[in-house]
C-alpha cells in the first residue's frame, strides 16, 4: 500500500521535468506469478500515470490500451468430422505461433482508438499476433482453424475475448486489473501499455511478468520430463505408500 503511494508520488514528481510529449509511467502489482499445488489463478493490477508538462491538448481524446500476452507456442488444432457413423478427428491445422494467453484492457472501443495499421505494427489484438507470427501454412480453410483456436482459448479463459475497461481519471491516472486463470502456461508474459491519440500510438511501455511453477509442482514436472524412468518408479512407490497409509489410518479410525 505504502509502496504504491510512493510510486504514485514519484510519478507525480516527474511531472515537472517531463518532455513536451506525453509519455507513460506504469507499474504492476506483481511481476512474478508462482504456480503452486493450490494455484487457483491470480490477479494483476496494472496502474500508472501519463507524464506531460504541457497542458492537455484539447483537440483529441487520449486513450490507454493495455495488453498482456503470454509466451508464444505452436498449436495443433483438430476438427472432428462425421465418418463411419461416428465423430472422429479427421482434419487438423498447425498454427505456427499463437499466444498461450492474451488479454486487452482499453479506455474505449479498440477499433476506434487504434487504427488497423497500428494494431498490425504493434501486434495488439490476438488476430494480429497470430496473423503476424503463425498463419497456418496450408489449406484455404485455415481461417476457420484460427477462429476455432481463438474461440476455444476464449472459452478456457486464456483469451479475454472483448477488452476489459481501464479506469482513467483526468486523462492522467489509469488502472486496470487482469484475471489470470488457473490453467496458465509457464513463461514470460509481456505487459504493454500504449497511449493513443486519433488511432495512432504516441507512446508505449513494456514490462514482464514471470509465471513459474514453483516448489513441488516444479520438481514433479521436471522429474517427469528429465528422468521419466525414475519418475515412473517413484510414482509407483508413492502411490503404494499412500494407499497403504490411507488404509492403515482408516482401519485405525474405524477400530477406535
Amino acid at each position: 500500500m505504502i509502496i504504491r503511494i510512493l510510486i504514485l508520488f514519484a510519478a507525480i514528481a516527474t511531472f515537472q521535468q517531463a518532455n513536451a510529449n506525453e509519455s507513460v509511467v506504469a507499474a504492476l502489482s506483481q511481476n512474478r506469478v508462482s504456480i503452486t499445488a493450490n494455484f487457483d489463478g491470480s490477479e494483476i493490477l496494472v496502474y500508472g500515470a501519463i507524464k506531460r508538462d504541457e497542458p492537455l491538448p484539447e483537440a483529441s481524446a487520449l486513450h490507454v490500451i493495455i495488453s498482456v500476452v503470454g509466451p508464444l507456442a505452436p498449436v495443433l488444432v483438430r476438427r472432428k468430422l462425421y465418418k463411419f457413423g461416428i465423430w472422429v478427428n479427421a482434419d487438423s491445422a498447425r498454427i505456427g505461433q499463437a499466444p498461450t494467453f492474451h488479454a486487452v484492457a482499453t479506455t474505449g472501443d479498440l477499433e476506434k482508438i487504434l487504427s488497423e495499421s497500428e494494431d498490425l505494427l504493434h501486434e495488439v489484438s490476438v488476430d494480429q499476433i497470430i496473423e503476424a507470427v503463425g498463419k497456418p501454412a496450408n489449406s484455404e480453410d485455415s481461417e476457420i482453424f484460427r477462429e476455432a483456436l481463438i474461440r476455444l482459448r476464449t472459452e478456457e479463459g486464456l483469451y479475454s475475448g472483448f477488452p476489459v475497461p481501464v479506469e482513467f481519471a483526468e486523462e492522467t491516472l489509469f488502472s486496470t486489473r487482469f484475471a489470470l486463470p488457473a490453467n496458465l502456461v509457464e513463461g514470460d508474459y509481456s505487459v504493454r501499455i500504449f497511449l493513443t491519440r486519433d488511432g495512432a500510438v504516441i507512446d508505449d511501455h513494456e514490462q514482464t511478468i514471470f509465471v513459474r511453477k514453483v516448489g513441488l509442482e516444479r520438481w514433479i514436472y521436471n522429474l517427469a520430463h528429465d528422468e521419466p524412468l525414475a519418475y515412473g518408479l517413484l510414482s509407483l512407490l508413492i502411490a503404494v505408500a499412500a494407499g497403504w497409509c490411507a488404509s492403515t489410518v482408516f482401519r485405525f479410525v474405524m477400530k477406535a
Partner: protein, 331 residues
C-alpha cells in the same frame, strides 16, 4: 495543487483494490502438474471415494469406471489412462498382501499370465503413442470403452437377472467345467496351486489381451481375468482373486512406467488424491456389501456400467457442439 487532487483520486481506488479478499480458499483447487489443469480437490477425493465404494461393494478394481469419469471432468485421455494404471497398481497392492498371507496366489499361473501381460502392455503403450501422434488416442480410448463396457455390461445384466431369478426359485448354479479343446494344446505345465495340468498358451493369450487393455484403457482387467481364469482355464475359485491381483500389480506397474517414459503422462498428484479417496471408499463399500444381496449388487453394477457406456457412446454418435479441439501436450 493539481498533484494533490490526483493523489486523492489515486488512493481511493487502490485502497479498495488492496482491501478486497483474494481468491477464496474454501474451493481447495489442486493444480495437477502433469495434466496442467486445476481441479477441485474435493471433486477428486469424491470421485476416488465413489469408485472406491463401488469397487469395495462389487469386488472390482474400478479402473473401468474411473478412467471414463476422469475424461468427463476434463482430464486429457493420455493422463487419465496412465494415471489410472498407477492408481490400480497401488490399490491392488494391499489386496495382494492379504492373499499372500492366506497363500491363495498361484505364482506359476501368475508368472505365465505375466509373460503375456508384459508383452501386451508394451505393445499397448506403443500403439497408444502412435495414435496419440495421429490425434486418434481420444477415439481409441472412448471406442475401446464403449465396446468393452457395452459387452461386459450387457453380459453382466443378463447374467445377474438370471441369478436373481435363480435365487427366487432356489436353483443351485451350475458347477465349473473344463473346456475340452484347451487340453489338446502343446506346452503343458503343471500348476500345483491350481491343481491343473494345461497348456501355457491360453494363459499367455489371456495375459496379452489383459496387458493390451491395461495400457490402452487404464484398467487392471480383473473383470476379464477372473471369469477367464474360472471358465476358460478352470482354475479353482479360491486362488483366482489372489492370482489375478498378483498379475495386475505387475502389469499395471509396468504400464505406468512405460507410459511415464514414452508419453510423460503419469500425474503423481492426481494418482495420490484419487487413491486417498478410493481407499476410504473401498473400506466403506466392503462393509456395505455385507448387508446387501449379492444378486441385487450385480444388477446395480451392470446398470452403472451400461450408463457409463451410453454416455461415452452418445459423445461419439451425436454431433459435437464444438468439433474443434486443441491437441494436448504435442508440439
Amino acid at each position: 495543487m493539481h498533484g494533490l487532487e490526483i493523489y486523492g483520486l489515486a488512493v481511493a481506488p487502490l485502497y479498495v483494490i488492496s482491501e478486497q479478499p483474494k481468491f477464496s480458499d474454501w474451493r481447495m483447487q489442486i493444480y495437477l502438474p502433469i495434466a496442467e489443469v486445476s481441479v477441485n480437490a474435493f471433486l477428486l477425493l469424491g470421485l476416488g471415494g465413489l469408485v472406491g465404494l463401488l469397487s469395495g461393494m462389487f469386488g472390482v478394481g474400478g479402473g473401468f469406471l474411473m478412467t471414463p469419469l476422469l475424461l468427463f471432468i476434463g482430464i486429457p485421455p493420455p493422463v487419465a489412462v496412465a494415471t489410472e494404471a498407477n492408481q490400480i497398481m497401488a490399490s491392488s497392492f494391499s489386496g495382494v498382501l492379504a492373499h499372500l498371507r492366506r497363500k491363495t496366489v498361484d505364482f506359476q499361473m501368475g508368472g505365465v499370465l505375466l509373460i503375456g501381460g508384459l508383452a501386451g502392455a508394451a505393445a499397448g503403450v506403443l500403439i497408444f503413442k502412435e495414435l496419440r501422434e495421429l490425434g486418434q488416442v481420444d477415439l481409441l480410448v472412448r471406442l475401446s470403452y464403449v465396446v468393452l463396457l457395452g459387452f461386459i455390461g450387457t453380459l453382466m445384466f443378463i447374467e445377474s437377472l438370471r441369478a436373481v431369478n435363480r435365487s427366487r426359485k432356489h436353483i443351485i448354479p451350475p458347477k465349473r467345467r473344463h473346456i475340452g479343446w484347451i487340453h489338446g494344446l502343446p506346452f503343458k505345465i503343471r500348476f500345483r496351486a491350481s491343481t491343473l495340468y494345461i497348456s501355457a498358451i491360453p494363459p499367455i493369450i489371456i495375459g496379452v489381451a489383459v496387458g493390451l487393455l491395461s495400457a490402452i484403457m487404464g484398467i487392471g482387467g480383473g473383470f476379464i481375468l477372473v471369469p477367464a481364469m474360472i471358465y476358460l482355464l478352470g482354475m479353482p475359485t479360491k486362488v483366482v482373486i489372489g492370482t489375478s491381483l498378483f498379475q495386475i500389480i505387475f502389469v499395471t506397474g509396468f504400464t505406468t512406467v512405460m507410459h511415464a517414459t514414452t508419453n510423460y503422462s503419469v500425474d503423481m498428484a492426481l494418482a495420490v488424491t484419487l487413491l486417498t479417496g478410493g481407499v476410504v471408499g473401498a473400506q466403506i463399500g466392503a462393509r456395505l456389501a455385507i448387508r446387501m444381496k449379492a444378486e441385487i449388487l450385480r444388477v446395480l453394477l451392470s446398470v452403472i456400467v451400461l450408463a457409463v457406456c451410453a454416455k461415452l457412446a452418445t459423445d461419439l454418435l451425436l454431433e459435437p457442439a464444438e468439433p474443434f479441439s486443441i491437441a494436448y501436450g504435442l508440439l
